[in-house]
């Protein structure tokens, strides 16, 4: 049914979406590419074209961007491992026929529906005030550590809060994956003499591979973009040790008013995220082919 009328309709009904995406995403994105080649403070009428100087500054400059990238990388790796391990462990328990399992699944999911900004504030309160008073009662030494004030510890505080907020989401995905494994396959494995751990490693895990792929990819992308929780929890401190890449871009543009340099940073960050995403996707595809 390829009448001209149909053709026109196809265009008309899809055009609003295309136009909106072009206006809100493609246009700013392309402009951002242009601004990365300029020096502009956001107030002056015209940005000044300076070629690749911003990118040279990124490499030679004060190293703040490099530090933010390294922090983001470490944060992403640790969060991915912690999130997926914790979520998988919880999911394995929560698919069992416990009476309270629906209640338990909901409990772990609740932080995920909260605003990440508020989650950051809740934990700021817990770390600074709650831990102090809990220590008075329990005497556990770890409660006395300076969770937000010590540069060596604050990294783990930030990871902890990120994991606490998001783990419920991955639990639900893993539970769905575990439920879709046919029971007879697991029973057959038992009949063939597989014990608990072997059954899990050789049967359950391989059958879960598509859930694992989804969770690993999503946890990577979300961790790379971490922003709200850190802004509320530490504002990048202490001593700038928890600036994530996105927070650094925000600071450069909207607090230091270096729009050009900020745009250059965002472009580099975009390329890193894109390459990592495509790399992980390809990795999964080749592994699926081999399996």
């Amino acid at each position: 049914m390829k009448s001209p009328r149909n053709r026109i309709e196809t265009v008309v009904y899809s055009l609003p979406c295309l136009a909106l995406v072009a206006l809100t995403i493609y246009l700013p994105f392309v402009l951002s590419g242009y601004y990365s080649l300029t020096k502009w403070n956001g107030i002056a009428r015209e940005p000044v074209f300076i070629g690749l100087r911003n990118f040279a500054d990124l490499i030679r400059g004060d190293g703040s961007f490099m530090r933010a990238l390294i922090f983001t990388g470490e944060y992403t790796v640790v969060s991915m491992v912690a999130l997926n391990a914790a979520a998988l462990a919880l999911a394995v328990v929560l698919v069992k026929d416990l009476k309270s399992r629906n209640f338990l699944r909901s409990v772990f999911f609740v932080p995920y529906i909260l605003s990440m900004t508020i989650v950051g504030f809740i934990w700021q309160f817990i770390f600074s005030k709650g831990f102090e008073d809990l220590y008075k009662i329990t005497g556990f030494a770890f409660l006395r550590l300076s969770w937000l004030g010590d540069v060596r510890i604050v990294f783990y505080s930030v990871v902890l809060v990120g994991v606490w907020q998001a783990v419920g989401f991955y639990v639900v995905l893993y539970v769905a994956g575990l439920q879709s494994i046919p029971r007879d396959i697991l029973e057959a494995a038992v009949v063939d003499g597989a014990n608990g751990p072997t059954k899990f490693l050789r049967v359950t895990l391989p059958m879960l591979s598509s859930s694992i792929n989804t969770c690993v990819l999503l946890s990577m992308i979300n961790s790379l973009k971490v922003f709200d929780t850190i802004l509320a929890l530490t504002k990048g401190g202490p001593a700038g040790s928890t600036y994530s890449a996105t927070l650094e871009i925000y600071r450069e543009a909207f607090q230091n008013n270096n729009y050009g340099l900020g745009a250059a940073k965002s472009l580099v960050f975009f390329l890193i995220v894109l390459v990592l995403t495509l790399f992980v996707l390809r990795l999964f595809r080749s592994r699926d082919d081999a399996a």
């Binding site: 049914m1 149909n6 053709r7 309709e9 196809t10 265009v11 009904y13 899809s14 609003p16 979406c17 295309l18 909106l20 995406v21 206006l23 809100t24 995403i25 493609y26 246009l27 700013p28 994105f29 402009l31 951002s32 601004y35 416990l98 309270s100 209640f103 338990l104 699944r105 909901s106 409990v107 772990f108 999911f109 609740v110 932080p111 529906i113 909260l114 605003s115 900004t117 508020i118 504030f121 809740i122 934990w123 709650g130 008073d133 989401f169 639900v172 995905l173 769905a176 989804t214 999503l218 973009k225 509320a232 890449a245 871009i249 925000y250 543009a253 745009a263 965002s266 960050f269 894109l274």
Partner: protein
């Protein structure tokens, strides 16, 4: 396991608990139960934050955003799936590709573009902006679902003389109910709790602020007055928690479906 779960939500419990205490009790002991639970903090904070104004801003922004995303994306996904022309393939690709572009990489110039387009600084403008940001994933989800609806259905309607739009409205859209629920759940959660875009677009005036945004400023201001900070935080997350308790099953299913398709 239940113990672990209780420990897990203990921070949220502490937030509620301390919002019911006067300042002195929060300072002296965070853990203890309030001597006499009081809602005085709530009365104070509701007034100081202009809570009802913020709440209605959030409702307006979320409603405009989600309605637009659902309407535009489902229609576009329908025609793009049914008419596999070269244009349709290209348009689909162009619409879904932005899912790979992190928001923070173009937020700097976004503010400039939106100011020129007169979409910055107002609640309805912000709602419309969400159309652009929400459409890629919504089209993707709808498009993947579309081939579960038999083509014979719409073809027979077209032969009976219904227009494409009519066929979509009275036959296709009602059949998309489950997947629409998924899109609605994901987008409501996202828009209601979003922070960075409102921070850039509507932070200027108190009349346009969103709940989370206002809570951010409020907690910043009352940083040392924990009893007010806790109350503001509770008031901000309370709508999400109430809705979650009411629609638990739908929300969890929607999130799972969205993640697997998306």
């Amino acid at each position: 396991m239940i113990l672990l779960a209780l420990l897990y939500i203990y921070p949220i419990f502490l937030m509620f608990l301390n919002s019911l205490k006067p300042f002195g009790e929060v300072v002296s002991d965070v853990i203890a139960l309030p001597k006499a639970a009081t809602f005085q903090n709530y009365a104070d904070v509701v007034k100081r934050m202009q809570y009802f104004q913020l709440f209605s801003n959030n409702v307006i922004i979320t409603a405009i955003g989600v309605t637009g995303i659902v309407a535009l994306a489902s229609l576009a996904a329908y025609v793009l799936d049914r008419r596999r022309t070269r244009y349709a393939k290209l348009a689909y690709l162009l619409i879904i590709t932005p899912m790979l572009i992190p928001f923070q990489t173009f937020m700097i110039t976004l503010l400039k573009v939106m100011t020129v387009a007169h979409l910055a600084g107002s609640t309805w403008g912000l709602g419309i902006q969400y159309w652009g940001f929400g459409v890629p994933m919504a089209v993707f989800i709808y498009f993947n679902f579309m081939n579960t609806i038999p083509r014979e259905l719409d073809e027979s309607a077209l032969i009976d003389g219904a227009t494409t739009f009519r066929t979509f409205r009275s036959i296709i859209f009602p059949m998309l109910k489950t997947i629409t629920a998924t899109v609605v759940v994901l987008d409501v959660m996202w828009i209601w709790n979003d922070f960075l875009l409102p921070l850039l677009m509507v932070n200027g005036r108190p009349e346009t602020k969103t709940l989370v945004l206002s809570a951010y400023t409020f907690v910043g201001q009352f940083n040392t007055q924990w009893h007010y900070a806790m109350t503001a935080m509770v008031l901000t997350v309370l709508p999400s928690i109430v809705i979650f308790i009411a629609l638990q099953r739908n929300i969890v299913q929607g999130v799972v479906a969205g993640a697997i398709k998306g």
